[in-house]
């Protein structure tokens, strides 16, 4: 009896939810007076940024991005705290068989290219698709490749947390500078420059580069911690 009631209730809720999402019809314009047009227009006219997604992520809703960066930072901190082992307990990774010479020499070749791509993606975040989060993830995949290929490949934890902390401080610090110069937190206080130039968009590319460093360092740290957990 209880189960039947639950099924009926869930079914009703499920039906209306599915109906609602079907009814919304994603991909079609819905509203005349939303804020989307203002975003599209001000991105080009005020901020001189060609990637609207970047301008929304870093400037219009930059406060959310600061929060999301913090979420990632906390996740890494928590992981480090929970999987923490005393120095002498850090185990050797269990490796079934070592990588062949094709993999080792191939990844040596690929590694700089991956890092370069990652750096390119986050430096050009305001001009082309991508940005700090994507670029940072690409860099972390480069380190993942190296960690998977070489059993003894190690990443310096002090450097990682230094990069992580300094990038985070720089993000919040740039926000505070905006507060001092423009009156509101995260204000774009540098002259935006010319559209489509590499040096344009004021603080937007600087913040996104910081995000790139931070995400790259944090995800590398996560991969390293999980790989070296004593199983």
């Amino acid at each position: 009896m209880k189960k039947i009631i639950v099924i009926i209730l869930l079914g009703t809720l499920g039906f209306y939810t599915a109906h609602t999402f079907f009814d919304i019809g994603f991909g079609f314009p819905h509203f005349e007076h939303g804020i989307k047009d203002v975003y599209l227009q001000k991105t080009v006219s005020d901020l001189k940024v060609s990637n609207t997604v970047t301008s929304i992520v870093v400037n219009f809703r930059g406060f959310d991005t600061l929060g999301e960066v913090t979420v990632l930072f906390l996740a890494v901190t928590a992981l480090g705290g929970i999987l923490y082992k005393r120095r002498h307990e850090v185990g050797e990774r269990s490796v079934l068989f070592s990588a062949s010479s094709i993999v080792t020499s191939g990844s040596k070749l690929l590694f700089p290219a991956i890092i370069l791509l990652g750096v390119y993606v986050f430096i050009h975040g305001h001009l082309s698709p991508g940005g700090g989060f994507q670029g940072g993830t690409i860099i972390a995949t480069g380190f993942l490749l190296m960690l998977l290929t070489y059993e003894n490949y190690s990443v310096n934890h002090t450097v990682l947390s230094l990069v992580e902390s300094l990038a985070g401080i720089a993000f919040a610090g740039i926000g505070l500078l905006g507060f001092m110069h423009g009156g509101t937190f995260l204000q774009n206080f540098i002259e935006p420059g010319v559209l489509n130039n590499l040096f344009s968009g004021g603080v937007i590319p600087i913040i996104y580069i910081m995000v790139g460093f931070k995400v790259g360092a944090e995800l590398t740290g996560v991969i390293y911690t999980v790989l070296h957990e004593k199983g």
Partner: protein, 494 residues
């Protein structure tokens, strides 16, 4: 002006990023810095609250884009009162746990203070923000700190408790995102005031579906029945101060979120009755569970859930008196329940399973702690000279004013139930003889200071409730005035 609301978020974030570096210089800094930050936040919030009570709410714009384009923070009498309460409790919890795990591994202790500070910052962010997606971000920050703090002891049981919390929390995030998506697809804005002013244009079915998602998502954090399955485990397995932080801080912020949605954003008239209904069910289920518990911390956890149910009921009345009673109960619950958690965890400090029967005869070994626990127990039940009496009284008068007699009856019955299970513990502390096995643990100096402060506060509010009612009246008037809120935020456009 002494500062702006955005500093509540930025200063702790800067400190959080800085702490790993400071820890390399001198290990003690990772304990001290969060305390300094919390003390700064308390000074800031008291100053801002004084300012707001005289001159009206502060609406802060971020990144130079006026609402609804950018994100904004709102520090009004209502949110300011809750922020001050949350930060004050946070500072007390920091003092209480300052010597926590000092002699054990350094690494987890470093994470502990950082995570505690972020738990408080996330809660403050939930209360201050004027944007629904920004609230989602802060709920994430609070949640992740919460999962990590629950798993602090890295044992099997704490891992299970943390995993439960993590799973439910992830479902909550997903639901919240779905609700935000539905709202955005209908009105094209994420700003709370802007949504509130356009709410009448949304079709009812969208409104109800998104409201259900909202309530389910935030109900998990706010420990509403039947979404509170994670709470008793987390309270039992987490370190003592963390339990107090959940009860005193996270739940307060989540209840704020629910209230903001019901009172300001949605215009569903049935939502108030719904609050009463879920509040009553939570209250009854939690109190009947509390009376059956054999472990002290679980009993306190269920009692805490029940109290929050009562707060829901008070908010559900939808009158200014109801809101006043709810805020008064939130204040008392924060103070008294923290005192109970703090003193209770010393009463069963060295016992393995934290059974209630292990507090037998503790009054001879820990006289001050036992006295404070008894004080807290009497106060939370609502006996006259203590703080809890005034909040329950205001709850009863509010219910009488809105002709909800069944609420009066239920509150009285529940008070009797509470009396039974709290007096049972106090009775064991004072009139039973101590059994062997457990060694009593003397409270540290910091813990004693915090517990005595809380006990003194209970007495002060008990004897001079007028000291606090002025602020509470202004805060409840502020919440009721939806038009003013919308005006305050959106008038920045002109």
């Amino acid at each position: 002006m002494v500062g702006t609301p955005v500093l509540f978020i930025v200063i702790p974030l800067l400190a959080a990023f800085l702490i790993p570096l400071l820890g390399m210089l001198w290990k003690e800094l990772v304990r001290i810095v969060p305390g300094l930050v919390l003390a700064y936040m308390l000074v800031l919030s008291v100053n801002l609250l004084n300012h707001v009570l005289i001159y009206g709410p502060i609406v802060e714009v971020i990144a130079g884009w006026r609402p609804p384009l950018g994100i904004n923070l709102v520090f009004s009498a209502f949110s300011g009162f809750l922020v001050t309460l949350v930060v004050f409790m946070g500072l007390l919890i920091w003092v209480y746990s300052y010597r926590f795990k000092r002699n054990v591994d350094f690494e987890p202790a470093k994470k502990y203070f950082l995570l505690l500070m972020m738990l408080i910052t996330g809660s403050v962010g939930i209360i201050l923000t004027g944007d629904i997606f920004n609230m989602f971000v802060f709920i994430e920050i609070t949640g992740i700190s919460g999962y990590a703090l629950t798993a602090f002891y890295t044992g099997r049981d704490s891992a299970e408790a943390s995993f439960k919390y993590l799973m439910l929390g992830s479902i909550a995030s997903t639901f919240l995102l779905l609700a935000i998506m539905i709202i955005y697809s209908q009105v094209g804005t994420l700003n709370m005031a802007d949504i509130a002013s356009k709410m009448h244009t949304i079709k009812p079915v969208y409104k109800i579906i998104s409201f259900i998602f909202f309530i389910t998502a935030i109900g998990i954090e706010a420990e509403i029945f039947p979404l509170n399955g994670w709470a008793p485990d987390a309270y039992t397995e987490a370190p003592g101060p963390v339990g107090a932080a959940f009860a005193g801080i996270v739940v307060k912020a989540s209840v704020y979120a629910i209230v903001r949605y019901v009172y300001t954003i949605f215009d569903l008239s049935g939502a108030y009755d719904f609050l009463i209904l879920i509040g009553l069910i939570t209250l009854i289920m939690a109190e009947t569970a509390a009376i059956r518990q054999e472990r002290l911390k679980r009993m306190l956890a269920y009692s805490s859930i029940g109290q929050m149910g009562l707060v829901m009921v008070a908010f559900g009345m939808g009158t200014e008196e109801g809101v006043f009673a709810a805020l008064f109960m939130i204040l008392n619950h924060a103070i008294i329940k923290s005192l109970l958690f703090f003193s209770g965890s010393y009463l069963v400090y060295n016992s393995k399973h934290k059974y209630i029967k292990e507090v037998n005869g503790m009054s001879k070994y820990l006289p001050i702690t036992s006295l404070l626990f008894a004080l807290g127990a009497f106060a939370i039940v609502g006996l006259p000279p203590f703080a809890g009496f005034w909040s329950k009284l205001s709850m009863l008068t509010a219910a009488a004013d809105s002709n909800m007699l069944f609420i009066i009856a239920l509150v009285l019955i529940v008070s009797v139930v509470e009396l039974v299970y709290y007096l049972r513990v106090v009775n064991r502390i004072y009139f039973f003889n101590k059994e062997e096995k457990t060694e009593p643990k003397k409270p540290t100096f910091n813990a004693l200071i915090v517990m005595i402060t809380l006990g003194a506060l209970i007495l002060v509010i008990g004897f001079y409730p007028d000291a606090i009612t002025g602020i509470l009246h202004k805060a409840s008037a502020d919440l009721m005035d939806k038009g003013q809120y919308i005006h305050d935020v959106l008038s920045l456009n002109k």
